[in-house]
Symmetry: C2
Subunit: 473 residues, 2 copies
């Protein structure tokens, strides 16, 4: 399995062999999250939800179906989504009086309720989220995790008294997502999308584009400032302190759980399989006894002691006592599943009351005394997370190539890289860039101010932005 030689094949193999996803479900674009994949998903969601709740967001659950008349209320929104929604038209043997759609995103499910809930300035800000599946009838080729017709995400929706407070919330959302993605060791760019690529119904959109080994960026999160657009469509107003009635200002942001899982797998994984950040690994440590003739029982008992100590420390640990497999096969198995730390317990370890720690990320090994084992594992967890992040950022840096003409840009895209170019912000030039290079303008950096250092790559006129160009999922 060669990740950089044939990413697509490598990715499918890892999903299958590490029991992340079974893609043989008999409906295109829908798949089964198997136990190992689902348990990673749960850890990612938990990490995100804790962060959202700590910053004042309330968890809720809204229905999966949206009536057509709610969906149709915001003009831009329906235009953007109508070609990709699934319609429910019948129940039992009856035709429904009003057809309904499966949520492709939940603005139009939530905002009718917001108009009940928000009465006065004291009800603001309102901040809610839900972790759910959403449904989009993708017409492009579907890909496991990266482009499915049912995918997992967390969506937050907020309402504010004015533009400034909504802007503050946008920055807060970016910070929350940034922190979570960093803790997962991911490398990504935070970009402000060009106007022609913003969310249907938004004033502007920010997005987190993670790198992928095949050069196609993977949008793992988005943050939108909706202004008053939806408030006007759904009549969401509040009574201000002075007694006047005003529309609320709204933001919404989506954290792509399926796509974040895809990014974790594709950025950190290697030719041995998954490499998981300790914080989201369903099993953080696996203990493997290495039996030796004459001391089998002693090694077994000592391995058990090691296991119990790790378990008592609150670490997610498993002991592999399968007698039908050799230690080498077990190493191979748990490497495929990406368990961050392997603890080997052999006759020498037994004799010296030590253990051998092996790190998944670099397959390095070290020995520690049993009394120092827990702190050693904990500091390994911290170091592994840092190593993953560092390695991923380095790859991203190497992937971004400055280019000054379309010819070079085309070659950059063909070499599975991300082009960094100057752009005049003209739509025609955007089109020429797309046609000339095969990549799309993904936007300019939101978190860092970047000044153009030359003319527009397409027309040669004055450039207004430094933008990133790539193919995308």
């Amino acid at each position: 399995m060669r990740k950089y030689e044939n990413f697509s094949e490598w990715f499918d193999d890892v999903l299958f062999n590490a029991e992340i996803l079974d893609y043989r479900y008999p409906v295109k674009g829908f798949a089964v999250y198997k136990s190992w994949g689902w348990r990673i998903v749960r850890e990612i969601v938990k990490m995100l939800e804790e962060r959202l709740e700590a910053s004042g967001h309330d968890p809720m659950l809204f229905p999966v179906v949206i009536p057509e008349e709610s969906f149709a209320k915001e003009g831009e929104h329906i235009k953007g989504f109508q070609m990709e929604v699934f319609w429910i038209t019948h129940a039992g043997d009856r035709k429904l009086a009003r057809r309904m759609l499966l949520r492709p995103t939940s603005e139009t499910a939530m905002y009718p309720l917001f108009s009940y809930w928000i009465r006065s300035h004291a009800d603001l800000p309102l901040r809610v989220f839900q972790s759910v599946s959403v449904y989009r009838y993708e017409t492009k080729a579907t890909r496991p995790l990266l482009r499915m017709r049912e995918f997992l995400w967390n969506e937050a929706h907020t309402a504010h008294k004015d533009w400034e407070d909504a802007e503050r919330q946008v920055r807060e959302a970016v910070k929350i997502y940034n922190d979570v993605f960093r803790r997962l060791g991911l490398g990504f760019l935070i970009l402000k999308r060009p106007d022609f690529d913003k969310f249907a119904g938004a004033v502007y959109s920010l997005a987190f584009d993670a790198w992928n080994p095949d050069g196609r960026v993977n949008q793992i999160g988005t943050v939108h400032n909706l202004g008053e657009n939806f408030a006007k469509a759904f009549d969401i107003t509040y009574e201000d302190i002075d007694g006047s009635h005003r529309y609320v200002f709204q933001t919404c942001y989506g954290f792509g759980v399926s796509r974040t899982l895809a990014a974790v797998i594709s950025q950190h994984g290697d030719d041995h399989g998954l490499v998981l950040p300790p914080e989201i690994a369903p099993v953080q440590v696996v203990v493997i006894p290495i039996p030796y003739k004459g001391v089998e029982k002693e090694v077994e008992a000592y391995s058990r002691e090691v296991y119990e100590r790790i378990k008592d420390a609150g670490i997610r640990v498993q002991i592999d006592e399968n007698e039908k497999m050799q230690p080498g096969e077990k190493f191979y198995h748990w490497e495929m599943f990406g368990v961050p730390v392997r603890v080997e317990v052999g006759p020498k370890d037994l004799k010296e009351r030590q253990v051998t720690l092996s790190e998944r990320v670099n397959l390095k090994r070290s020995r520690v005394g049993i009394e120092e084992m827990i702190p050693a594992i904990r500091s390994l967890f911290v170091r592994i997370t840092e190593d993953l992040a560092e390695r991923s950022l380095k790859t991203l840096e190497e992937m971004v190539i400055n280019t000054q003409n379309l010819e070079d840009l085309k070659s950059v895209i063909e070499k599975r890289r991300i082009g960094r170019v100057n752009w005049c912000e003209g739509l025609e030039c955007a089109e020429r860039i797309r046609e000339g290079s095969g990549g799309e303008i993904r936007g300019h950096r939101f978190d860092v101010e970047e000044q153009p250092d030359g003319p527009c790559i397409a027309c040669g006129g004055e450039a207004k932005r430094v933008v990133y160009v790539a193919r995308a999922y």
Copy 2:
């Protein structure tokens, strides 16, 4: 709000005022779980999932859509469900080549995959579960939580090498559900459903019927032995040790999360609002400072200390420092939300380094020194859970009335009770019981052997079973 005078109104009021559910969603039978309700749901699901995982079940997630041809494979199953499924027929502006349904339950979503996963006896038993929403187009009147068209549940599905192992799994499932329901303090009967009321496709069905203040029982869980029915329909076979190929034996069981929440609310709640078992309360303890002139700052600081101590003990605690509300209003507020323990901190408590503990279940108060506070709260939690269970079981016992003739049974049902009667197991008699009393035969007890002590209540012939008769949701 009078729970026993007008249950329906009381229940709706509690759902609204305690922010469990907002039923104003513009599609009938679909509702929004608000934050307090959703957080209780999460705790219930967590409690159940931990128990399932500890006994060898793997968490997974299967798609929400099922293709029609999978749905149609098991004859009895499709007969039982076809009138109540939602159909997806279009996507965007296209008609789909094959229509799909929203899962009403997931046998037909899961079992095509089971036939890939199960190859040999070494793959058995297979035990998986998912916590999801399911969709049923109820034609009877919908009711919040109790009968919705979208409801939350956890469904487990297992496959075994023979009938005996499936039977063992049925008993295990009953034990798991029984333990979880007991920990929630619920009162219920475990009944084997009569044949005419079993799950579509099952050999037999067991069910947990919880009592409800209005006398209609609430089915909160079911356990089915599926025999080889689905294995034959989905061709799920394994190679046995002797090389022969056999069909697997299957079981499935569903834990009604929405309905369990309904049972917790309606069994434990009172005229002040919710009463939550400590284990699932989003906030287990609320600290309320009682300020007093001259020592406001001191009470505030002492309340903070109390709060920090409870928090450090790992208890879910909140401090209510809202300066716009009087302590009495706060008591009222948190009673509505069912927080199990209130800690009042007033000037006398401050002076004596004590706190006043108030229990939601019986509104009893007691004082303890701050050093004894944490153990006192923990033992309150245990006692409250026991009290709730005891109270609920007592109500159930009082609700069940032995009856010997249809006239009496009718009066029992009208008085919102559960009738206990002798039955000959004849279908005609079942029909006469239903018509004569307004209640339905829910089945005979699974966990306790009960012998008829008289003739069949309907025909006067020999009775074979003692069965329970009630109206049901």
